[in-house]
Symmetry: none
Subunit: 206 residues, 4 copies
Amino acid sequence: MQSRTPASRTGRPRSAAADAAILAATRQALVELGWSRLTLGDVATRAGVAKTTLYRRWAGKHELVVDAVAELFDELQLPDRGSLAADIEGVVLQFAAILARPEAKSGLMAVVAESTRDEALRERIRASIVDRQKRLVLEGRARAEARGELPPPAGPEEAARTVDLIFDVVAGAVVHRTLVSAEPADEAWVRGFTRVLLGGLGAAST
Amino acid sequence: MQSRTPASRTGRPRSAAADAAILAATRQALVELGWSRLTLGDVATRAGVAKTTLYRRWAGKHELVVDAVAELFDELQLPDRGSLAADIEGVVLQFAAILARPEAKSGLMAVVAESTRDEALRERIRASIVDRQKRLVLEGRARAEARGELPPPAGPEEAARTVDLIFDVVAGAVVHRTLVSAEPADEAWVRGFTRVLLGGLGAAST
Amino acid sequence: MQSRTPASRTGRPRSAAADAAILAATRQALVELGWSRLTLGDVATRAGVAKTTLYRRWAGKHELVVDAVAELFDELQLPDRGSLAADIEGVVLQFAAILARPEAKSGLMAVVAESTRDEALRERIRASIVDRQKRLVLEGRARAEARGELPPPAGPEEAARTVDLIFDVVAGAVVHRTLVSAEPADEAWVRGFTRVLLGGLGAAST
Amino acid sequence: MQSRTPASRTGRPRSAAADAAILAATRQALVELGWSRLTLGDVATRAGVAKTTLYRRWAGKHELVVDAVAELFDELQLPDRGSLAADIEGVVLQFAAILARPEAKSGLMAVVAESTRDEALRERIRASIVDRQKRLVLEGRARAEARGELPPPAGPEEAARTVDLIFDVVAGAVVHRTLVSAEPADEAWVRGFTRVLLGGLGAAST
DNA sequence: CGGTAAACGAGACGGTACGTCCTGTCTTGAT
DNA sequence: ATCAAGACAGGACGTACCGTCTCGTTTACCG
């Protein structure tokens, strides 16, 4: 994932096990120490690896954590629950469950913070985490259209704009609820949120 | 703001000018260096203040940045533009404008990241930034009810829950758009967002 | 002693008790902490005095300790024990007893060390400690001459040279024994030293 | 010298050049700044070395200066000048010449002062400086006995006691003359001192 | 199978920032 | 004017990590 395929033919090949051990150690350290106290020397020790080995693969703390956290989100799925509302509730709950894990909480916002001044890092985050999960919105939308719950988009450009907007609203709301408000995004909250998302503010307090 | 009112009568009183100079220097450093390269020694130098003075008032980088960033959000207002949609668009645009400033971007997510492991820091963020701005939601809601655009809440508990939900959705969406998607939350986007917020997903692509 | 007689008539007069309290606190701190860990803030606190008061009277740590230690040596006396050898042994034992006290040990060498680069400090040490005790050598010599144990000096210049030499030998030997060799300058050692001083190396091992 | 032979086989070996550079820089700083203004950060900079490297080898300012100063005394020799008096005068003059150098003056008394409260430091001083130079007394004594100028000691214990005594008298007198009296231990003074040392006080004023 | 070249562990390195401590000065209100 | 109290600018402390480097060792491939 992080390898830039050095394309060398000779010499000892890089240990594949080391990569996995390092990422696992990174997540473990995030759980125990959080972002700010996590050090690469400690990660290397936990992984049973020399610091050199770690730096040969990742440029720094931020890049490493992006990769370590990205793996967490790959388990997201969009189960077919029969209606758009149920589908949304299902995937939002999954997303909230991942965000509730300390290894995600600690690391995610920190790399986002840093990405405001580091274009390459932002690209890495987008490629590894954000864009990869937009598939869920696309799939959900397609299903809703098939069911007749939503009208088809006016055009491809309109479609892309809508997907981005929905993703910002959904991901943003869950993140804000979990990290800033620091309240659980539990079933009750998710139901309320889905109602607003589908019906607008007027539907909020029913 | 950060002072825990040491209430000492004797001795030389703390310089009020130092506080303002430090917070201003912090914002300047955030603009020039970003969060990760900002150092307290540098902030002290910029403020023309000894490191000691800085540490006498703030416990660390995180606390300092919370206070420095919090001041940015105090300029938010809710102008009466005649309709709920227009009011929302107005305040969201203001919010987006503040978040677009580098001193807000760099610092805000970093302290949120740290707050996932530091309960006191989270409280400080909530008190200094989040709760202070919920007034906007309350005011907007009251106006909308007076205009008949929204029904009154079912009860006080219901009202609080709705305010929190709306705040999470609005703030979360703007933050995600600005920092994660890294696209401008401009007028077009805000119009689209407001339409969804008021009318739900079905109204998105009209 | 340290006062430069500010000769001011008006205002609140300086507290005389403060001087004694500060010097006593300095010696106590020397005993408990030694030279390097002694701080003026701590001394002021022990003396129940503000730091300002301390700095109004002494220029710094070195000057303060010189005065605090100098008082220790003022109790030296030259009792008439009937012979030059006995007189020497008596005063050397007294000198050794003072040097064995931690408040003298800790401070004395430190100010001497600093005095190698501070002419004013050296003068203060000489005036407060060294020259003040040369009286003992003068008195001892006079007694020995009266008893016929030593011939009178060839002249005043010769006399001064001899006094200085003897002082360097006696004080130097005791200091070196106590602080560098870190062995007690007890009666046995003092007897051996006196034998050498009076009779030369050939008499050492009798 | 300061290395406690960590005996590690793996890893990058310690730079031998760094040790020499640090000790030389320490002496240079002692000359220019004296003991109290010497800082380890400055020494590191002068030596072209990181502070870390310095602290990896020495525990602090005192230990470092002991080693830096100790090297100065290793050049002492006992030239055979034909008589005990001449031998003593020769070595005392050499000793005085070293003590006259600012890098020795500034540092030596300071570490002795600290050693009164630090047993390990005292041992280091004794091992690195004092005991190493007692060879001079032993050699001089042996020569004098061979020449018939001094009687052989009564026994091994007596011999050791005498060596220590002579060392305290010689070193103490020169140190006191140089640092406390702050007068040069020049040829005239050394002649007078040697006369007293060999013949006792009665021989002083001839 | 033996040589070669890269990866590996270990840990020293130059460097930067940390948060604390002390110095010597100052500013307050009270004496 | 002096005092107690304590904030202040400044600077050194000793520690912790960073990211690089230099070792000696291991391990795959390639001739």
